[in-house]
């Protein structure tokens, strides 16, 4: 009998202790959810948190970052929290359809037009950017940084040694790589794992179709079954013949490194590659050079990390305070030099940025802004994942007709095509 009582007592004690574990802090706080847990991203976030703390010393900042590959894990955690009606006060997401198609479609976000008007952000951000982050005239997120997707990285000494100038059209690019192959370079165009192939694919779509037809792919006005798209797919297939055979085994860093080492002449990657080049000690215009991907000059294919305001944010005022910092000049100038990206605002302090970023800022202010597919601007998650599967099958079997049919089917099932 004695042991019986003892066990009961233990159970009761455990329940009491468990009940005491709840939160007791009453100080105002803001919980911000992101996948920035390492490298320049985490350092940039910390710098922006410092700006926030200086402006709002009474609000406690809770950094709810979840580690793991480009946010896949974080997004799964976030989905669980939203389904349980337990949202953070704000979270990070790629500006555009990745946020709109998933969270606006589920009625989870508040429009932020009032904040844009109050803070005067419409005057300092490119007018072609705003529609790409909006749905039905409502803006749904505050972009903190801008990255460019359509960048061709090249090795200047390899080009000079082979008497090649930087290509500006697809046909010049083919000719340059034919020369390199004839001179004994096995794979002039460095490629990495499957998502880097999708990254290359979106820049080829833009180059081959042109700005208007490319934009039309995402609003349904360009048919995926059209002969123009067939030509674009053929261009993509031709480019793949210049790539390395071990692409699927390489990360984007491995692929970019091939250019620095001179094993390849070209690589198409977003401009976060510049931070990587600096990190491994390469010097701009000596170790690596850059240009818009051939055929896409005058276009800035962008992607952006942005923050949102959930409909039922537990601390709405604190969340708005955070968004004000994220969209402010001080916040963006704290974040971007560390992360290696440019501010979404065009009034940044130019003395803080390096050679590449300054050239990107010039283009950002003057070019036509178009959205990236791989990084969530133009297609919602479901559509993108269907395109990814179609692309994976194509990389496997090289069947253009089947690829185009699958792309058209994906647009009907998950995109605007009816």
């Amino acid at each position: 009998m004695r042991s019986y009582k003892f066990i009961l007592l233990t159970i009761v004690l455990m329940l009491v202790l468990a009940a005491c574990g709840g939160r007791s802090s009453q100080k105002d706080q803001v919980e911000v959810f992101s996948w920035w847990t390492g490298g320049g991203e985490a350092a940039g976030l910390d710098a922006m948190i410092e700006v926030f703390k200086a402006e709002y010393p009474d609000i406690e900042f809770v950094n709810a970052a979840v580690a793991g590959g480009a946010g896949t894990n974080a997004r799964a955690v976030l989905a669980g929290r939203l389904q349980a009606n337990n949202p953070p006060d704000s979270w990070q997401g790629h500006a555009g359809q990745e946020l709109i198609g998933t969270y606006v479609a589920a009625n989870q976000l508040e429009p932020l037009n009032f904040l844009y008007e109050e803070e005067g952000w419409l005057a300092v951000m490119p007018p072609t950017l705003i529609p790409l982050m909006s749905e039905g005239g409502n803006i749904y997120s505050v972009p903190v940084n801008i990255h460019r997707a359509n960048v061709l990285w090249y090795n200047p000494s390899v080009l000079t040694a082979n008497g090649i100038s930087v290509p500006t059209t697809l046909s010049e690019w083919y000719a340059a790589m034919d020369t390199l192959k004839a001179n004994g370079m096995e794979a002039p165009l460095a490629l990495g794992e499957q998502w880097t192939a999708m990254h290359l694919f979106e820049t080829v779509l833009l180059a081959s179709l042109g700005t208007n037809a490319y934009n039309g792919l995402w609003d349904g006005s360009t048919s995926w079954s059209s002969p123009q798209v067939t030509t674009a797919l053929q261009d993509f297939q031709k480019l793949l013949t210049y790539t390395n055979s071990d692409a699927s085994a390489l990360s984007w860093q491995d692929a970019a490194q091939l250019v620095i080492n001179g094993d390849a002449a070209f690589n198409v990657m977003g401009d976060w590659a510049e931070g990587f080049f600096r990190e491994i000690g390469s010097v701009p215009m000596q170790g690596y050079g850059w240009a818009p991907t051939p055929g896409t000059g005058g276009n800035f294919q962008f992607l952006s990390d942005s923050f949102v305001l959930p409909r039922n944010a537990p601390h709405r005022d604190a969340a708005i305070a955070w968004l004000k910092v994220a969209g402010s000049k001080a916040g963006q100038d704290a974040f971007n030099p560390v992360k290696g990206s440019i501010p979404a605002r065009n009034d940044a302090d130019r003395s803080l940025y390096g050679e590449y970023l300054l050239s990107a800022m010039n283009d950002w202010a003057s070019n036509t802004v178009v959205g990236s597919l791989t990084h969530g601007v133009v297609a919602n998650d479901s559509w993108k994942s269907e395109i990814d599967t179609a692309l994976g099958l194509f990389l496997n079997n090289g069947n253009i007709a089947a690829f185009q049919a699958a792309l058209a089917a994906a647009c009907s099932a998950s995109g605007p095509c009816q």
Binding site: M1, Y4, I7, T72, R75, A76, A79, L82, Q83, T102, Y103, A105, A106, N107, Q108, E186, E193, Q194, S245, D246, S248, A249, D263, D381, S382, K384, S385, E386, D388, T389, G392, L393, L395, N396
Partner: protein
């Protein structure tokens, strides 16, 4: 009185785990079945009835065909490789040679490592780069003059999955050896002696006496290895990331659910995985419970 109160205490103490299993295992299986029969696509639950549409779509889905093919290749090579190497090592160790304990532990050791660690190491070993950037096994073969062995490993078109089976075999064949060694030790020496008296040679002793007596061990090993292989996920992601030529149902389930918000389809893949494992495991459970009650 005392007996009765102890009985209630036992039930009380077991009940939390029974309730937890009912909710978190069987309850969630039923919920997944329900989701797999729904049109849920997008962040928020949508239980609109879809019948078997998700399942029908999967069977017409070229990606799922690749998944099934890859699972068959992987399972065949992995289970077959482990059984053959396992029984071979067990027979060697059963010969009573010196240093048996040392070798037993040596062969068993890889099992102490997680698939993730194995995957990362084998990613380096099976580096598919050729030419000037050659490394890993290929570099070893190159410096030994065994050029004909140099290959592209998991990037070989259509058969890359076979390369993924290698680290899995490396990791689990020691465990299979331990199972077989236990079985061999349980066979009384008198049986072998009787066979020798009857004029059987060593080969006949193995094929006619030892192997048939090891059949229950083979069955256990088949079940354990089989369900690991059907659910494989971490090893592939660690070696090769997520790419279509090496896709399996578990990776498709993860990507389509959490990257693509196709919850209904993801649940359907999960249920098909569960069924395939059940087909393997249920007969085994029935077999063991029957033999246990007989004993």
């Amino acid at each position: 009185m005392r007996l009765k109160s102890e009985k209630w205490l036992n039930i009380l103490l077991v009940s939390p785990s029974i309730i937890a299993v009912l909710i978190f295992v069987y309850g969630f299986i039923l919920w997944s079945v329900r989701v797999s029969l729904s049109q849920w696509k997008g962040l928020m639950p949508d239980y609109t009835w879809a019948g078997l549409q998700n399942y029908r779509d999967l069977f017409n889905d070229p990606r799922f065909h690749i998944d099934i093919r890859n699972t068959i290749i992987f399972t065949t090579l992995f289970v077959g490789g482990c059984l053959v190497i396992g029984i071979f090592l067990a027979i060697l160790l059963d010969q009573g040679l010196r240093g048996e304990t040392f070798f037993r532990n040596l062969f068993l050791f890889p099992m102490a490592i997680s698939f993730i660690v194995t995957g990362v190491v084998w990613r380096w070993l099976m580096n598919p780069a050729l030419g000037g950037r050659i490394s890993g096994f290929n570099l070893l073969f190159d410096s030994l003059g065994l050029d004909f062995l140099i290959n592209r490993w998991y990037t070989v078109p259509n058969w890359g999955m076979a390369a993924i089976a290698l680290p899995a075999i490396w990791q689990m064949s020691g465990y299979t050896m331990a199972l077989y060694l236990g079985g061999l030790r349980a066979i009384p020496e008198s049986l072998r002696e009787a066979a020798r008296m009857d004029g059987a040679n060593e080969w006949q002793i193995y094929t006619n006496i030892i192997f048939p007596l090891l059949r229950p061990i083979t069955l256990s090993a088949l079940i354990i290895l089989g369900h690991i292989s059907l659910k494989v996920f971490d090893l592939i992601v660690a070696v090769a990331g997520k790419q279509l030529p090496l896709d399996v149902p578990a990776i498709y389930m993860w990507q389509t659910t959490f990257d693509g918000n196709f919850y209904g389809r993801g649940a359907a893949i999960g249920i098909l995985l569960l069924l395939s494992v059940a087909i393997l495991v249920v007969p085994y459970i029935r077999y063991t419970t029957r033999t246990e009650t007989e004993q």
